[in-house]
Amino acid sequence: MKKTGTGNTDKNKRSRKAKGRLLPFAFIGPHLILFTIFVLIPIIYGLVISFTRWDFINSPVWAGLENYREILFNRESTYHIQFMDGLKNTLLFVVLNVPVSILVPLLFALLLNMKPRGSKIFQSILYLPTLFSISAVGIIWMQMLNKRFGLISMFGVKHSVTTTYPYVWIALIIMSVWWTMGTNMVIYQAALSGVSKDLYESAELDGAGALKRIWYIALPSIRFQLLYTLVITVAGSFNVYGQPLMLTQQGVGGAPKVNVLIMYIKNLAFGSGQSIAGMASAMAIILGAFILVVSFIQFRLVSKDE
């Protein structure tokens, strides 16, 4: 109260400055809190138990780096063999699935963006599979691909598609794209709808063909969204689980033909026997590290572009 005028404005300035510093927190704060409680803490928890032996029931026993050593360096160990097998299949899935899951929805979004007759019906049909749960999708495709009772029996296919390489991989990728494509397609559609019509028209007047317009106008305009779909599709493919489980397991008591890392991790943590949660966590952390490195590279490549 007794402060001089200048002092007062100083104070106001300072408080405004403090408010300015707090302002971002008003926007990102609520999420940061939710994120800490429901994402960060569980992951730290997982990190901690990856340094232990634990069956989820009795007290965990500190094991230091033993789980990591076992998985990464002990060539004799079941866990090393499982990890390498899981990693091989997971990487193969990533390599096969990501390009298709980016390009196919992009192609459809571009086609739909031309607003052909009936485009609304087409986009609904293309999005429809995304709405089924993976168990329903698995059941439907298992039936379609059954060589004795399924759709392929009508085309005279003699192979059991879901158990013979490389057909099982082809079927897996087709089913995956069929099921998940809608998500990326909708994002591209939303992004493409934002590309200014003027740009297209002026390019057309300059005599640019359809491909050129796509390459020089549409794609650069949606580069942020492309980065998003790339990062998320890659991370999602590394975490693949439901599709190979539902499609390639052979009836009761059969192991899936395509064993991806998450399956091994899940079986260790929640298999039929006593849980081997520490080892499972360590595998999950290593897989996480892989995803991290790959995502980092993607960000680097794209931001260099700008």
Binding site: R21, P24, H31, F38, I43, M114, F132, V186, S193, F296
Partner: protein, 280 residues
């Protein structure tokens, strides 16, 4: 010029017709098969149209209200999914705005860090997550389905990417006009993000609607379960399952999300820069 456009439209129409025909085939089969008897499905080989139409599978599911209060599940799912969609939009738009248009120290570093953390596989997470839920006393409570998902980062990433594409001039013009941060957010940026926020609503709604592992963990009470988790219960215990009811259940569960999609598609196809153009 017009001819050319028309030709390319026809080409795209033809391609899409062919693809859509293939795309819809498994679903058509699933829908038809849900109207077949179990004997026909299991013994008559592959076919699309039922030889004998029966609504038995649907009646079994819809009438089995003691074991399976399907209307109740439906309402539970609706409540959870709608709440999540609404809360997601609020949180996602605020946060994405913060990470894309506000300027503060280590902004991008902070965002990339939470993004990176969220990329770790979450297989083991149900054990700690359940512990956290039980601390809040949300076991058997819809909150367990609603709140944890709001900590996710992917949708924020999505909206942030869209927001990054909006030219800086808009904020600057508004700032010169003396608008505060909140005003810029609500009056300038938010309207432009409307299409992608519709997508966020669609994604959040669908993910809650189709989630079935987590709800079976947090709900013991059949009455409180969401639809997909409940329908999961109708499958056979040892895998000697009956296809008809499962497919009927899948078709029922899909209807609301599909209607939401039809509704949403109007909004996410709205041009972002069109609204921007009006402002500019």
């Amino acid at each position: 010029m017009k001819k050319k456009t028309r030709a390319s439209r026809w080409a795209s129409c033809t391609i899409l017709t062919l693809v859509a025909a293939v795309w819809v085939l498994p679903i058509v089969w699933a829908v038809f098969t849900s109207f077949k008897t179990e004997t026909e499905i299991k013994t008559k080989g592959f076919g699309f149209l039922p030889k004998v139409w029966t609504t038995e599978n649907y009646i079994n599911i819809l009438q089995n209200t003691d074991n399976a209060p399907i209307v109740r599940w439906f309402l539970n799912s609706m409540f959870m999914a709608v709440t999540v969609a609404v809360l997601s939009i609020i949180i996602v738009s605020l946060t994405a705005y913060g990470y894309s248009r506000l300027k503060f120290k280590y902004r991008d570093q902070l965002f990339y860090t939470i993004m990176a953390i969220s990329l770790f596989p979450s297989v083991i997470n149900i054990i700690p997550l359940y512990k956290i839920i039980s601390v809040f006393d949300w076991v058997n409570n819809a909150m367990a389905m609603i709140i944890p998902g709001l900590g996710a980062v992917t949708n924020i990433f999505l909206v942030r990417q869209f927001s990054l594409g909006i030219p800086k001039e808009f904020d600057e013009a508004a700032r010169i006009d003396g608008a505060g941060e909140w005003r810029i957010f609500t009056m300038v940026i938010l309207p432009m993000l409307k299409p992608v926020l519709t997508v966020v609503a669609l994604f959040s709604f669908t993910s809650v609607w189709n989630d079935f592992l987590w709800p079976t963990i947090v709900f013991n009470d059949v009455e409180k379960m969401p639809l997909t988790a409940g329908l999961q219960l109708l499958q056979g215990a040892y895998g000697g399952f009956q296809l008809g009811p499962i497919l009927a259940a899948a078709c029922i569960a899909m209807i609301p999300t599909f209607l939401l999609y039809l509704f949403a598609q109007k909004y996410f196809l709205q041009s972002m820069s069109l609204s921007a153009g009006v402002k500019g």
